[in-house]
């Protein structure tokens, strides 16, 4: 409990620490889709609409897993590669540890009921074992972040994710949750969508309790309910997600919103190689950043 009380008291400090940390490292831990975008015009572009008048969310969003160096090529003219460190003393261990600090002390974290902070601590300390995402299982919603590509029809939207090549098919024709799927307790849950003005609202239930809300041991139960809101304005997509788990959370937790640019790079790709975890058997300490 004590560490979590410290965490409460350190909110102001954590905001400063969080601001100092590179968002790219956090994105790497919390799912893709929020990376630097390919070329896109963001201003004075009308929002495309489907024949029924709703915004058309279709497109590749954010980095979308496309290739190409983001900050200039790290290769010299002879083809040698040298990656420059951007961490304290250029040390990757410092980078990993700082990433862990920034995620644990980030200003925006789920507020658990007092009796559950010990469990959060346990999950965090033993994350190399407890975090199923570390063992190649899906990060789940909303930890996996926004989709990197969306396909939209009048009846449904399809969210494609780079992480583990996952997809979600979400009906938007007003139907209720499927009575079977919504009780199955799955990694991605059962999703249904509807329009509120120009915002697509996706209601997700039926989760298992294996996934986490975030890297620092932020577990949830199978009572988790997530509301995702996607709003397209021109070539910009705003992704917001709120997680509610009244059994363990004091109040719904709003994940940091992501703003994604339309990726018009024709070579953008989302395919992700399979996940074959081989590190666990070789870890000698519990450290994970």
């Amino acid at each position: 409990m004590a560490p979590r009380l410290i965490r409460y008291g350190a909110t102001v400090l954590s905001a400063a620490v969080g601001a100092l940390m590179m968002t790219s490292s956090i994105a790497a831990q919390n799912g893709g889709g929020g990376r630097a975008a390919g070329p896109a015009q963001t201003q004075n572009v009308p929002t495309p609409r489907t024949p029924d008048g709703h915004p058309d969310l279709s497109g590749a969003w954010g980095g979308a897993g496309g290739g190409g160096a983001r900050d200039g090529s790290p290769f010299d003219e002879k083809g040698n590669l040298r990656l420059a460190g951007r961490y304290r003393k250029g040390n990757p261990v410092n980078g990993e540890r700082d990433s862990g600090i920034s995620q644990r002390f980030g200003p925006n974290f789920p507020l658990y009921k007092p009796q559950y902070w010990d469990k959060v601590d346990f999950m965090d300390v033993n994350g190399n074992v407890q975090d199923s995402n570390f063992h190649c299982m899906p990060a789940g919603v909303p930890r996996m972040g926004p989709p990197v590509r969306i396909l939209q029809t009048a009846r449904d939207v399809v969210f494609l994710y780079r992480e583990k090549n996952q997809y979600r098919i979400i009906p938007i024709d007003g139907r209720p949750h499927d009575p079977v799927n919504s009780m199955d307790q799955t990694y991605l849950g059962d999703s249904v969508g509807h329009w509120e003005g120009d915002t697509l609202v996706v209601d997700v239930v039926g989760f298992n309790s294996e996934t986490w809300l975030g890297w620092p041991g932020y577990f949830h139960t199978n009572k988790l309910r997530v509301i995702e809101r996607l709003t397209r304005q021109g070539n910009t997509l705003l992704y917001q997600a709120t997680a509610d788990d009244p059994d363990v959370l004091l109040k719904p937790w709003a994940m940091n919103p992501r703003t994604l640019q339309l990726n018009t790079n024709p070579t953008t790709q989302i395919e992700d190689p399979p996940c074959i975890e081989s590190d666990s058997a070789n870890l000698t300490t519990k450290e994970r950043g």
């Binding site: 460190g85 996940c275 074959i276």
Partner: protein, 135 residues
């Protein structure tokens, strides 16, 4: 194949690009103060998540052969910097690799640098001068 496997201990202060962030602490698996250079034949390239794995067959002084597993960052992170498996790693070719050794004593290491058959240095974890293959 000429045997080349010299163990060199360094107090290594490694640096790494943000793209190569592992999802667990590399420190828990690899000792970055113990760096060795191996030279051998690339036998397998596994361009998989969460970490790319290379397998190199290294002949030891006593004539035995050790299959080294070299661990890197995730394929998406390599893709982002333009490092592709097909372009840079050829099965059957001879590579040198400086690696941070596994703490459990197994024949595993975290890649610092590769020296490719055509003489290119791929410094994935630069070493502030501590990497034997670094330039």
């Amino acid at each position: 194949m000429k045997r080349f496997c010299s163990l060199v201990a360094f107090v290594a202060a490694l640096s790494v690009g943000s793209q190569t962030f592992a999802h667990h602490a590399t420190q828990a698996e690899f000792d970055q103060t113990k760096v060795t250079t191996i030279k051998g034949v690339m036998t397998r390239v596994m361009w998989v998540n969460p970490h790319v794995n290379w397998h190199m067959e290294v002949k030891n002084a006593d004539g035995t052969v050790t299959d080294w597993t070299i661990v890197g960052a995730g394929p998406g992170q390599f893709r982002a910097i333009g490092l592709s498996g097909r372009d840079f790693f050829q099965i059957g070719e001879t590579y040198s690799a400086s690696i941070a050794l596994a703490r459990n004593g197994s024949s595993r290491g975290h890649i610092m640098s590769f020296l490719t058959p055509d003489g290119k240095t791929l410094q994935i974890w630069s070493g502030n001068g501590d990497d034997p293959l670094g330039r």
